[in-house]
Amino acid sequence: MIKITEKPIDVQKVIDTASSLNAGAVNVFIGTVRSKAHGKNVVWLEYESYESMTVAEIRKIIDEASHRWPLLGWAVSHRIGTLKPGEVSVVVAVSSPHRKESFEACQYIIDEVKTKAQIWKKKYLKTGRNGFQQAHK
């Protein structure tokens, strides 16, 4: 499952999608919006995606991961739209026979998603009493 969604991500559902009866291990990475960035308070974030390219790019990443590790199940869900601190922005879950490969594959996938998927975030930071600042990183 590859999902780009404006709705809050149901983490348990992502885990269930990635699970397999033959697996002994599931590794899950959850990205959350930090309350601080660049030394300032984050008021909210906006994520947008070029969805058609993003889904194809993530599919390539998963194909490569499946080639490298014996994955039995996987799921990637990325939130877009407006997110507040503490909210979940991305969930990657993979299952495999043994634990080592589940850690390696999950880390590979999230590293690749962060550097390759066509998704952009814009941070809205509080500066002083009434000031705002936008940051594209």
Binding site: S49, H78, Q118, I119, W120, K121, H136
Partner: protein, 79 residues
């Protein structure tokens, strides 16, 4: 020829819209890039800027038509 350019991330701020029209005769990716940086010099400050045509990263020599889906892909920052 009139091209419609989709913008994402910081390129939307720089070009000032989600979909920007540009007129270029016999356009290629390379010519589009020159025209864009002429009009919007801030694009040169980006660490990288790819042009996607019909959902694929395009070579500089690729020819463009008015029916192509063209998009600017600045550095990504998902996750």
């Amino acid at each position: 020829m009139k091209l419609k350019i989709k913008t994402f991330g910081i390129t939307r701020d720089i070009l000032g819209g989600r979909l920007v029209e540009i007129e270029i005769s016999q356009p290629t990716v390379s010519l589009l890039r020159s025209e864009l940086t002429r009009r919007y010099p801030d694009l040169e400050n980006l660490n990288s800027l790819f042009v996607a045509v019909n959902n694929k990263y395009a070579d500089e020599s690729e020819e463009l038509s008015s029916t192509d889906e063209i998009a600017l892909i600045p550095p990504v920052s998902g996750g």
